[in-house]
Subunit: 181 residues, 2 copies
Amino acid sequence: MAGEGYPLEQVASWPAADIASAWQRELPGVRTGSIEIITPLWRIAKVLADDRRRTLTELGVDPSTLDLLSVIRRAGPPYELTTREIARRTMVTAGAVSQRVARAEQAGLVERSSSSASRRAVAVRLTEAGHELIEPVVRQLLEHEADLIDSLSEDERATLTGILARLERALVSGGEGFGGQ
Amino acid sequence: MAGEGYPLEQVASWPAADIASAWQRELPGVRTGSIEIITPLWRIAKVLADDRRRTLTELGVDPSTLDLLSVIRRAGPPYELTTREIARRTMVTAGAVSQRVARAEQAGLVERSSSSASRRAVAVRLTEAGHELIEPVVRQLLEHEADLIDSLSEDERATLTGILARLERALVSGGEGFGGQ
DNA sequence: TCTGCTATGTTTAGGTCTAAACGTTTAGAT
DNA sequence: ATCTAAACGTTTAGACCTAAACATAGCAGA
């Protein structure tokens, strides 16, 4: 089922190169090189995000909840993280984390308890149901997304991985990923 | 001023490679290669989007409005596009376009008129104020974003441009960019 | 001990998006 | 001609996020 793949229905696009040369013509002398990187990067990010939303809908989760559960699960035993730490690692505001945790708690996937470290901190911990939900979802999601980027060759994937890592390091001092599975 | 650059304040990150190997350990045999592409890609997209929002705030526009104005401007004379066409090219729903146009119309940047082509279609056209706003904004934005990706070498930029274009074509049948300047 | 100051989590207000419902216009079929 | 289906734009309901205000808890220094 993960291998089936959606149509990824999208519409006719202008190549980013055309946009760049159009602006080059309108605003002579301006450096338009960023367009051919940033534009496709955003388009790809959006297409992948839309696809993930559809895939997760079929699996009965939403992207924000997956993001929350997986960052806790990835942290390893005892599978709990403070609100602040989750905010840092997922790159969303603490307020958003608070809301996400409230939703997931409502669904019985996580529990809040006072952290052992400090009293003002709140530990968010996976429940049994949370553990049982996330593993198969992540497995299927990873298989599906591996299929999606299979269109690139092995060499291209390796090159892309390297350049993206370099660009990310250059752009951010740090920055823990959101949606990092 | 475009060269100054923000701190791009971000927090400590786990490399995507670590996330991949963590899941590889938890779910042996699953293909985790997509993580090292999709995760940094989303992180970079978010950092760039946040940065653009800040830059545009200083210039007195918001990203959605820039997106709207620039897609019309790029279309060339007579600088008008139907709602549907804008939705296709910017990859947002027709409802969102309707709302964007309403805001921009309120600000005097665009005008609505019935399209010459068909009566049910609505043509959105740049006003004088819209024209005067967008040119300097795009110029400064492009200079700023060119600085941002300057950390990559000339070769890396060219390679990245090529692979991203290939990946985009593979993922979407078409798909006109949003935020495409 | 008291007094700021910082860190943490929550709540709220405001904004934008998507998805769906709706009414209208156009094109095609019979 | 009329009917049906599709396309278009708008509106609305619901979801989620950010930014800011808020309340509490710890910390550092006199």
